[in-house]
Amino acid sequence: MAQVLTFRDALRATLMEEMDRNPAVVLLGEDIGVYQGTFRITADFLTRFGPKRVIDTPISELGFVGAAVGMAMLGLRPVVEVMTWNFSLLAADQILNNAAKLRYFSGGQVNVPLVIRGPNGAGVQLSAQHSQSLEALYAHFPGLWVVAPATPADARGLLLTALRGKDPVVFLENAALYGAKGEVPDGDAPIPFGQAEIMRRGHDVTIISYSRMVHLALTAAEQLAQTGIEAEVINLRTLRPLDRETLIRSVRRTHRAVVVQEQWRPFGAAAEIAAVIYEGAFDLLDAPVERVTGADVPMPYARNLELLALPHERDIVAAVQRTLYRQ
């Protein structure tokens, strides 16, 4: 059976269940307790689990992410909420030089079962310092898993996997999705990392994306269907590992691919995805892989400029048409 939940409630319920089940799970973050969480993912958690498990931290990203790594090394299973991923840059050293690597440089003596989660990507008019999508940065580093769910079902299934694995997970949510509803399977069904989902079948072109952009891709696909173009839409779910097989199998069938990402094009995630497609389907590609990306500028505040800086359905439609030489 399944029930309809918002993305927020899927996260909440999963976290709560897992905390009920496993006393090793503790939460850390700014204003997750008394304040009830900036995005209310942890509302009521403090009352339910108490201050030893729901730890309101000072504004010390480097300190509390690092402390969570230390907790994880000792066998706790900390879940850090970064109020937004933008602030994670202050903790980059702890994430990239400790969490990601210390299993390796200890010769496998310690695990770091740590989940860092929070909203990633642009909001609405949050401007340059608060509108970043950092998946390409984190996915570059071996030792991390990088997860970017698109649906409430993804949110639940991937969070379950994250909470039960033994490695550090960069869990990238999207504030615009918190209110989005979707069917969430009941019961205990973790979604393994590295398993993309084909959200829509089609034979003319493959549109590949993750997180919020998947929804744009689906809308674009509906629009394209009205012009007789059947797009396959792939939701990657995780960037590291990348489900090369599903990707490549699809493109080898459709001969065309469009990759959609929210952030800056240069050295962005779409470049890697495109490279993987070329490497796996070069001989069967009928057109260059199109990258639909955000504008290569820090995010402006003004709404009209912000809209110009973000990818839209029409950009995806146009890119698809280019792969079909319809333009």
Binding site: P58, I59, S60, Y301, A309
Partner: protein, 342 residues
């Protein structure tokens, strides 16, 4: 009240009357203006005219006013995202600030920065920053530059109580002390201790709640001040600014204050504090404190007060109108300003 947390010893430096009372009238006017500005900005936010985050300064006005009243036109300052009042106190036209909040081409930053990133470099405002604490290193380096360039200009750095728990605070403040030994760091760190970082009260985020003293352990002279009383702040500011200008050494002050509004416009329920506390602090509203003082000294009468309020109302209404009617930035603005050479 100021001494509630951490046993703050607050310097009392008020003079009941004298020349600074008359010269405080323009600051009273500005404080009334910014309060009105904040109220109307919030209303515009609710109407969907302003987007993103919106952090208001209501209740804390005497801190920035007191310090900005004490510096020279060629001095500079940095602050965080709660920055509207700082700009307006310094002379940035309210309509240019409001237009920025509305995301318009006529905004101080052409609509690119928004509420959190006000800049007015000709007037010495070097921003408006959204990452808590991250402007403190900038301000510290800027202070060094002012001395390096052979001037006697100084730099103010406003920061929140919450920012003091970050490495962005400790690292540059330690360096400022070192540089100050050679007279190379003319900066005043001004902690706007409004008791909370979002929903986290000072005593839940640190054990040492006498925040000024934290500067002492980096070797920086410091004191606390009653941040609700403009005259007190201004007097302290004048003394401190003169000394920092003369010595090139950093100085720190913790202004005990309170934000009467939510953290941001989205902070409606405020589960982290009770109404009583807010009401208590309303009794110490800095605008009323100054008003009473000016009234008592005969520098302002009721009619003048009313006129000042009316003027503020009109100015802000005009600012709203201006912002509303201003054009959006044209699409060509999108790629502009990313870099100087490209």
């Amino acid at each position: 009240m100021a001494s509630k947390r951490g046993g703050a010893k607050v310097r009392a430096e008020r003079t009941p009357a004298g020349p600074d009372l008359a010269s405080s009238v323009p600051w009273y006017r500005l404080m009334v203006l910014t309060r009105r500005f904040e109220d109307e900005a919030e209303r515009a936010f609710r109407r969907g005219k302003i987007g993103g985050y919106l952090h208001l300064y209501s209740g804390q006005e005497a801190v920035a006013a007191g310090f900005l009243a004490a510096i020279r036109a060629d001095d500079i300052f940095f602050t965080a995202y709660r920055d509207h009042a700082h700009a307006i106190f310094r002379g940035t036209p309210p309509q240019a600030v409001m237009a920025e909040l509305f995301g318009k081409q006529t905004g101080v930053a052409k609509g690119k920065g928004g509420s959190m990133h006000l800049f007015d470099v000709p007037r010495g405002l070097y921003g408006g920053y959204g990452i808590v604490g991250a402007h403190i290193p900038l301000a510290t380096g800027a202070a060094y530059a002012l001395r390096y360039q052979g001037t006697d200009r100084i730099c103010l750095c406003f920061l929140g109580d919450g920012a003091m728990n970050s490495g962005s605070f400790h690292e540059p403040v330690n360096m400022a002390a070192v540089w100050g030994q050679d007279g190379m760091c003319p900066i005043v760190y001004i902690v706007e201790n409004n008791k909370y970082a979002m929903g986290t009260s000072v005593d839940r985020s640190t054990v040492v709640t006498h925040l000024a003293s934290k500067f002492g352990l980096h070797g920086i002279e410091n004191e606390q001040v009653d941040g609700q009383d403009f005259l007190t702040v201004r007097r302290a500011a004048e003394r401190i600014v003169a000394r920092v200008r003369a010595t090139g050494r950093p100085y720190a002050i913790e202004a005990i204050t309170y934000r009467l509004v939510g953290h941001g416009a989205a902070d409606l329920f405020q589960p982290y504090r009770n109404k009583g506390e807010v009401e208590e602090w309303k009794q110490r509203d800095p605008i009323q404190i100054l008003e009473r003082e000016l009234h008592r000294a005969g520098v302002l009468d009721d009619a003048q007060v009313a006129a000042i309020h009316k003027e503020a109302e009109e100015k802000v209404a005009a600012a709203i109108k201006y912002a509303e009617e201003s054009p959006e930035p044209p699409p060509e603005e999108l790629p502009r300003d990313v870099s100087a050479q490209g």
